[in-house]
Amino acid sequence: MVDQGGETGWMNAAVQVIVSRALPSGGFPLQPSGQFDPASTAWAAIALSLVQQATDLRSQACRTLAQSQLSDGRVSVSAAHPETYWPTSVAVMAFNLTTGFEGAARAGSRFLLQNSGLCWDKGEDKTYGHDTSLPGWPWVAGTHSWVEPTALAVLALTSSGLQTHPRVKQAVSVILDRQIPTGGWNYGNTTVFGNMLPATPENTGLALAALSGLVAPAQVAKSIDFLRSELQGIRTPFTLSWGIIGLAAWDVRPTEADSWLGASFRLQDRYGSYDTCLLAQLIVASLARKGMAKLLMESAA
């Protein structure tokens, strides 16, 4: 395991916690004593792959994940909700990092390429500020596209070597179109009834992570500034991880990033034990020195 100058001692502890949560039947739960959770399993497999530990466990995790994959390639939140397919993107990233799951990765990518959020031509309707005709990805089938699922799909398809695919180019348009004029992103609405909605740091980190290498720096300069400023006081794991990953993707990783990640890990004293996804994301943020897309491509099986 990589040790980044002694700043990442917490990472060993995080890896051990993830490993300790492995289910006997394969895969990982969101929290200890929970049931198999596809997104948690995919994130755990990604983190364990990147630290090159627990080879058997991550293979078993991917096997369980692949077993939950439907015949069209999607990975849903649960068997009861096949329409909620946002974990597919994270699963594709996990499959791409694990030998023997190339077919599962291709099926997941194919599903993403064949599906999109609902689009419509809004004509003269000015209710929403963004272009509702652009196809990105939704959280749930039959709903509109939003920033996070679209950003995750871009990362997944990029990790599959599909960064020049027309759907990725469309997704880049979606994400850029949802950028708040003053910088940053929120869940995916820029203006509603003519009023500008505020940006949030976690969506900004996700969007910047996805756009790295696909758009010019000038197109996201205000958003980088927004995120750098916001991140100073944030130690909660989801936002901090994606914030650091997003900034690292644009070569502006904060110099204090490693100590911030350690501080975030230690905040479990206050918040209780983190979800498996959050532990994995802290690990990814520590390792993604040039962003997530590059890390995934360099680490691909």
Binding site: S78, W139, T143, Y187, F193, T200, P201, N203, F238, T239
Partner: protein
């Protein structure tokens, strides 16, 4: 004379008639039975003695230690997204703290706070930036993230929208007494967001998305009615000490409305809030459709306790260009 045997079709018809008669009886009961009680308490700011105010309200509503002792009380605040200088977006932590203290003093075995924030994925950040995290930490009150907690399916008892079942966190079924703790706000889709709309937050983001777009496509009004038909809160407490007027629920401006509104029947509480806000509840679609199905919104059927509406009336600014705000002003 031999008794005529009923055919299966006749039995079905008779059954439907009985159901219809029962339904009509229920409507009559709601229309002509006991009125709903709603308490209005005045609080000029969050430094006021909110615990005493909440305790007074509970007493006025007939909620005593006998009902609460030994039970698990779940408080469901409105935490949409926190932003600096916009404390009026979310239920104020001082109101949540006062309510928790009131229930604990009545002998509740446990008070927990639970919410599934509607827009932001980072629930811990929502807690920190709203100020609620610090209060819960100090008071050792557990928080459950309804966006990611273990789930259970419940039937959709409303059938206003096309969702055949609803998925919610199982902790909601395990709690004994649930309190919808909304913020008094205008809303650019629903007209107002109060205790019934606040129940949107029990729907988990991991299933319905961030925002909970499945419910938007199914119909906001229909989803509000379905959620409240399928899952009933035991009490509503609306934080209107500082409300939000204009382009709510995020971009509106604060208004010192100075009230806490409480009641067991959510529709009646929301109707009273509307009247305080200078809005006709019969012109709010979800309330008009809830009327006589999920409670009453008729002023004559609501017994006001505490302050009277006229004494705390505080018309909220509306934006006529927003369709949900058009023509909802009380005439």
């Amino acid at each position: 004379m031999s008794r005529k045997k009923w055919s299966r079709r006749e039995i079905t018809r008779a059954g439907l008639a009985a159901i219809a008669a029962g339904g009509a009886g229920y409507l009559l009961y709601r229309s002509y039975g006991d009125p709903a009680s709603v308490f209005i308490g005045r609080a000029t700011d969050y430094r006021a003695d909110l615990r005493t105010l909440i305790e007074t309200g509970l007493k006025e509503l007939g909620i005593g230690a006998m009902e609460i002792r030994g039970r698990t009380v779940l408080l469901k605040p409105n935490l949409v997204e926190p932003h600096e200088g916009r404390a009026h977006i979310n239920t104020n932590p001082a109101v949540i703290r006062a309510t928790a203290e009131a229930f604990l003093s009545m002998g509740a075995a446990k008070v927990i706070v639970a919410e599934g924030a509607g827009h932001q994925r980072d629930t811990l950040l929502v807690l920190e930036r709203s100020g609620l995290g610090e209060v819960l930490h100090e008071d050792r009150i557990p928080f459950i993230d309804l966006n990611s907690a273990p789930l259970v399916e419940i039937p959709n008892k409303g059938w206003f929208a096309r969702l055949s079942r609803l998925t919610v966190a199982s902790v909601l079924l395990e709690a004994d007494f649930i309190v919808s703790m909304a913020k008094m706000k205008t809303h650019h889709w629903a007209g107002v967001t109060l205790s019934m709309k606040n129940m949107f937050g029990i729907m988990p983001g991991c299933v319905y998305g961030w925002p909970k777009n499945v419910l938007h496509w199914a119909g906001i009004v229909e989803s509000i009615l379905d959620i409240n038909a399928s899952f009933k809160a035991d009490l509503a407490i609306v934080d209107g000490v500082v409300g939000m007027e204009g382009d709510g629920p995020i971009l509106g401006t604060p208004i010192q409305s100075g009230v806490i509104v409480m009641g067991r029947e959510l529709a009646a509480v929301d109707a009273t809030c509307c009247r305080v806000m200078g809005i006709d509840p019969f012109k709010i679609e979800y309330l008009a459709r809830a009327h006589n199905r999920q409670g009453t919104i008729s002023e004559s059927r609501i017994e006001q306790r505490g302050e009277q509406i006229q004494s705390v009336s505080c018309p909220f600014r509306l934006i006529e260009t927003i369709p949900a705000h058009a023509r909802i002003r009380e005439s």
